[in-house]
């Protein structure tokens, strides 16, 4: 074997890419939102784009945790922390700079998530689900109870417009620009973060027992991801408060976490593009069919069940499958396995 060693060559290592194809495509799409206010003044389109971006950014918090097979209901809690941080800073301290506020909206929830992550992520996965759910309920209660800081059931109103380099961002299209900036930041952070730790996250998702046996301290990566997910949710909270011009507990209702989960699952949890696609499709559908409030939960519930039973990869997974089939059907192009197919092929792990 020793003389064999001299002739054995490993296949060339591929140079790791900064981001994958799905990530680039997603960032381009989110970046395109900056152009929307230039292209149109239609208030309907502006507000739809705004809603989609906020929903998608919020759903990133779910996406990040699902990369490790953890279902998080904590998105509204951290959105609230981010949103109220911004409201308090601008109302009580007069901070209006969008970049400063954005940093605060990310850092504050991320810091709050650190001790919580440390606490719950060393326990079994189910505890995580339960505790995030309870956490969201509690933050909701706190918003009502801590009236001196949060305004209680009145919420916080009358925030001054945010500024960027001293310029006020006040009207519809400028609010969309702020949202687009926050969404772009959220998507960039998420894409770079999940890409950088893709080996760790994949290992934890597929087989955490094996990962630990090789030396990976799984709970640390889960806690780190929980913190980053909280920060990204905070950005969405900022965008929501900025759009509504008020910070109110009902904007962060516990059951809204279900919507964010639905966007991620229906869009496809295997790629970041799925989160954007899910938010875009479902926010548009809710609006188109005038499913305001009452009936959309039923539609969401039905979609969740259908996706879980027959199309685990969600919309993006189905699209990737269809694209793969077409490529295979055309004899000229060599068949390639779409990376998203990995979602369907996940093994049983208890």
């Amino acid at each position: 074997m020793s003389n064999q060693a001299s002739i054995t060559r490993l296949p060339q290592a591929r140079r790791p890419a900064l981001l994958g194809g799905y990530e680039w495509a997603t960032l381009c799409l989110v970046g395109f939102a900056f152009a929307v206010p230039v292209l149109t003044r239609n208030p309907q389109i502006l507000s739809q784009t705004n809603l989609i971006l906020i929903a998608a950014t919020a759903a990133l918090g779910v996406y990040i945790m699902l990369r490790m097979d953890l279902m998080s209901f904590a998105v509204p809690a951290f959105m609230a922390i981010g949103g109220y941080t911004v409201a308090v800073l601008s109302l009580k301290l007069g901070v209006t700079d969008a970049i400063l506020l954005g940093v605060a909206a990310f850092v504050m929830p991320a810091l709050c998530a650190v001790p919580l992550g440390w606490l719950i992520l060393r326990l079994k996965g189910v505890y995580f689900v339960l505790v995030t759910f309870v956490l969201t309920e509690i933050v909701q209660l706190l918003l009502f109870e801590a009236a001196p800081l949060t305004g209680g059931s009145n919420g916080l109103v009358g925030m001054p417009a945010v500024t960027l380099f001293g310029i006020e961002l006040m009207d519809n299209s400028q609010v969309l620009l702020t949202t687009a900036g926050l969404a772009f930041a959220g998507f960039t952070i998420t894409a770079l973060f999940t890409r950088h730790f893709r080996y760790e996250f994949t290992a934890i998702e597929k087989n955490d027992v094996l990962a630990e046996s090789l030396g990976l301290a799984c709970w640390r990566y889960k806690a780190l991801a929980f913190s980053v997910a909280a920060g990204v949710s905070g950005l969405a909270g900022f965008a929501l408060v900025n759009m509504l011009l008020t910070a109110h507990p009902t904007s962060f209702a516990p059951m809204s976490s279900v919507s964010y989960i639905t966007y991620t699952i229906v869009g496809g949890k295997g790629a970041i593009l799925g989160t954007l696609a899910g938010a875009a499709l479902l926010v548009t559908a809710t609006d188109l069919f005038a499913l305001k409030g009452e009936l959309s939960p039923g539609l969401f519930g039905l979609l969740i069940i259908v996706v879980t039973l027959v199309a685990r990869g969600g919309v993006i997974g189905l699209a990737a499958k269809a694209a793969g089939r077409m490529r295979r059907a055309s004899p000229a192009a060599p068949a390639r396995v779409a990376p998203i197919a990995a979602v369907q092929a996940r093994g049983v792990k208890s």
Partner: protein, 288 residues
């Protein structure tokens, strides 16, 4: 002093209804390994079936309660065998389908009965006076039925082999299955029993508290609090924790006001997670 006793009785009444809900919830987790997000949905459904039978059809209240219990148990059975069973190995998927089912249930109720709270009150009115303490008869009936149901459930759990299966599953699911514990055969039964309990609770309690399509949301949150407190999958833990939760809620509502009781409970749950992650009476939690 009288107030103290009256509040305690309210606490017991709350505790006994939470116990029924949490028992079902923990049963489903212990046997199937599933966190049932639809639990609140079965509670609401129980309330509406009872309302429909007693108010719309004019049936006697006990018959309505029985109908609610059977209807929710039957739907639970169907849901388990038709949907949940297909994804039972994948805990993420079980979460998704129970959550999706809850949304569908809540929306269906909304479509059928509308968003308004229907006129539905407990058929027995009046207040029992003991010294200076006042206790509504309705609460006493609820306590009585709930305690009876708890006793029956305990008896069922330990008679039918559910108890043995639960203990084995808590120790190690795969080993228990490998050793030929026929736990799978118990799945639909356990699920139906649990959802039936939720329906029974809903039928009894919604005429006292409130009936509306969304009243299942807080039920889910309180079930979670209770089972974390008691230890996931622990039947005795869930029962004890339910009464703690009920007491804290009752006394906090009277002496603290607002939602401080719920806040106090959360702090309690956080503390429990720090010092005793397996819950009050739960077994050792394995790192995973």
């Amino acid at each position: 002093m009288d107030n103290l006793i009256a509040t305690g009785l309210i606490g017991i009444s709350l505790g006994s209804q939470y116990a029924l809900l949490a028992l079902g919830f923990t049963l489903i987790f212990g046997i199937l390994g599933v966190v049932n997000f639809a639990h609140g949905g079965f509670y609401v459904m129980g309330g509406y079936v009872a309302y429909y039978c007693s108010v719309v059809l004019g049936l006697p209240f006990p018959v309505a309660v029985l109908a609610a219990t059977l209807a929710t148990a039957a739907l639970g059975w169907l849901f388990e065998t038709l949907i949940l069973e297909r994804v039972i190995e994948d805990h993420q998927a079980t979460l998704m389908v129970t959550m999706g089912f809850y949304l569908v249930m809540a929306t269906a109720i909304l479509l059928l009965f509308g968003p308004e709270s229907p006129e539905f009150s407990f058929p027995i009115t009046g207040v029992w006076r003991a010294g200076g303490a006042y206790v509504p008869y309705a609460n006493m009936v609820v306590i009585g039925v709930c305690l009876a149901a708890i006793v029956i459930v305990y008896w069922l759990i330990y008679r039918s082999g559910i108890g043995r299966a639960m203990r084995a599953m808590a120790e190690d699911r795969a080993v228990a299955s490998a050793l030929g514990m026929r736990t799978r055969a118990l799945f639909p039964f356990a699920f139906a029993l649990a959802t039936g309990l939720a329906g029974l609770t809903g039928a009894l309690v919604t005429p006292i508290l409130a009936l509306a399509p969304h009243v299942g949301d807080p039920v889910l949150a309180f079930s979670f609090l209770t089972v974390i407190l008691g230890g996931l999958g622990s039947v005795a833990g869930a029962t004890v924790a339910a009464f703690i939760v009920g007491m804290v809620e009752a006394y906090a509502a009277v002496y603290l006001g607002g939602s401080k009781g719920a806040l106090a409970l959360f702090v309690l749950v956080l503390l429990i997670l720090v010092v005793r992650p397996q819950g009050l009476l739960g077994r050792e939690v394995r790192r995973a």
